[in-house]
């Protein structure tokens, strides 16, 4: 997920890491099959993402442990070029 550009929508396909970490992520809504939208990603530092209607900040390293299948790049240009 850490490679995705702002505006990209995707579906969570896999979570990597220990049981405690993946358990915590999934209880927050990052379950397999959950849809996410990237709001902000500056290539370093934390990433801002919407999951299940909530804005979540994730450390760059944490975001890298979430495998996401890209659904669509948002056509709403206003949202891409933040």
């Amino acid at each position: 997920m850490s490679d995705l550009q702002p505006g990209v929508r995707g579906v969570v396909r896999q979570l990597y890491g220990g049981q405690a970490f993946t358990g915590r992520l999934s209880s927050l809504g990052f379950t397999l099959g959950a849809e996410i939208t990237i709001i902000r990603n500056d290539g370093h530092g934390p990433i801002l993402v919407v999951v299940r209607g909530t804005r979540m900040a994730l450390g760059f390293g944490e975001a890298a442990k979430i495998l996401v299948e890209i659904l669509a790049e948002s056509t709403d240009s206003e949202r891409i070029h933040e």
Binding site: L15, Q19, A20, F21, T22, G23, R24, L25, S26, S27, L28, G29, T31, L32, G33, A34, I39, R40, D42, H44, G45, P46, L48, V51, R52, G53, T54, R55, M56, A57, L58, G59, G61, E62, E78, R79, E82
Partner: protein, 671 residues
Amino acid sequence: MSEIPAASMTGEKPIVVAIAGQPNAGKSTVFNMLTGLSQHVGNWPGKTIEQKIGFHHTERLTLKLVDLPGTYSLTANSLEERIARDFILREQPDLVVVIANAACLERNLYLLSELLALPAPVVLGLNMMDVAEQQGLQIDTRALEAALGLPVVPMVASRNQGVRDLARTIERVVLQLSPLAPHRPEIRSDHKAVLEQIHQLLADHVPAPYPPDWVSLKLLEGDVEITEMMRTRLDAAAWEPVHDILKAHEDAVLAIASGRYTWIERIVRAAVTQPRVSQITLTERLDRLATHPVGGVFVLLGILGVAFGLTFSVGVPLQRGLDTYVVQTVAEWLRAALARSPLWLSGLLVDGILAGAGIVLTFTPVLAIFFAVLGVLEDTGFMARAAYVTDRYMHVMGLHGKSFLPLCLGLGCNVPGVLCTRIIDSPRARLLTILLMPLVPCAARLAVLAVLAPIFFGTAAIWAAIGVLSLNLLLLFGLGYGLHELVLGGEHFAFIMELPLYHWPNWRTIGLFVWQHLLEFVKRAGTVIVFMSALIWVLSYLPTGDLYTGYLAHAGHWVSPLGNLLGLDWRMLVALLTSMVAKENTLATLSVLYPTGPAGGGLTAALVHSITPAAALAFLVMQMTFIPCVATMAAIKQEVHSWKWTLFSILLMLVISLVIGLLVYRVGLLF
């Protein structure tokens, strides 16, 4: 549900109601609305997590409300989650109220789905209905009630809407006037068989308040606490088959969470109509700037600037006024009243105890203003953005954004800053944040800087102050960078944080935020400061009754060789030492030890004549970094539960202060 003893019907024995909810669901607001000022703030037994208990009277019942810590789930990831679920399992409250944020219902119902596995009747309070409406969400609460099999109360707690309905619903459920038939999330069929297997293997080994079904489920979810509990209860031979099953189904934790969300999605589909076109909300607009890596920093600096502007332009004059008109008046009156009693008595009362109490009293408005501004930032949702923006800078110190709020609170007073570190998940990251706290210049030290810099440097004061503060910030980052390997031991902490929707602040919530922090300051810092102030007075008075020959002066003379290195005479060193009582004591001590000379001119002239600019700068730097005040030390000891780390913190600050002071002085002499 359990039978209700007859006494509780008549309101003699209060009904215990636990209030659960995820962070940012407005749980505290609901709690505050129900209990008002009847709340008691303490700690959970043996824990450093705040516990709030309050009472509410309905027509027929007295409710004892217990505010559980805000948690996203009940999987013992954190101390908060453990406390919440232990309370429900062990104390067996008569009812659990779950407060959910209607604007992000899916994620908020996750906690409910976990709570339904525990043996307690549940009522759902659906808060922030107004925010949901603004987002175009239509929630059919009747349909939600039917889908969940639970009473659902729509609320806008910040406007006191629905709070009475909630109390009435609680009453109805407790008196068994409305039947409860909750629908529980289904377990996937392949896991059902596994659960059954585990259940049979555990047989009668599950200890009393824990439901065996629930224990089996938690084992499958890899719950560390429950796993440890069962492992020690079963002998090795009995544990092995259980362990094998768990090992073979290690990925079940994801499937179980997904299963709960599937259940939630079905319920939400039945009750919520999503807007067809998603709107660009206020939150999105504001976040474009507030979370921008560059813009966000400027917004943050601007807001902090305003916070300090307000604190010092309103708070400091108030502080001076209180000092002149209240403290000094009382002091004169006391002195006059005690004119016939021995000199030491009026000295102890006026210069010792009253001086200490005066510091606490006059400092309260400054802190009140600062806490009010921070309360607004916290309540509106801005603080989470500040944590997001500062995260990358905190990484330099091996910390992340969550440490920003406590450090920021420390700018007001280090004591609440240290206490606030409780919001940090990892104990080691918490310890590191606490160790850094004394390097955060508190309002008292800033006040000393603001008074002394113009005395020493005249028109160049602003540059001196900026220099001192920059050095302070540099030291903070440097120390964090230097310590994080040692304290954290290379451990990495996940940064996962919700950014709540922005909303208008609720004045009642902010009022209570300020009130509780002030109360804490007065209670903790107050008692320590008054006591230490009296002690310091005794040390300065004994044995000769003269300030210049007392124990305190002796101590000052004894360390004066050190002072020579730093270009400071014994009086400046004594001022530093007494700043350990309370940082603003530096000023009081200086004005006592540098009496107005025959030529007049007061403190200013006396000070300027006795010190070189290089030494003055060194003194300012040392004053900012010297050993933390006793109130802060006490708070550190309480929070880290270790004398070793407390002493480490004190020695560390002493060494830093001396080394930096020496460096500044020696470098300063070159110019």
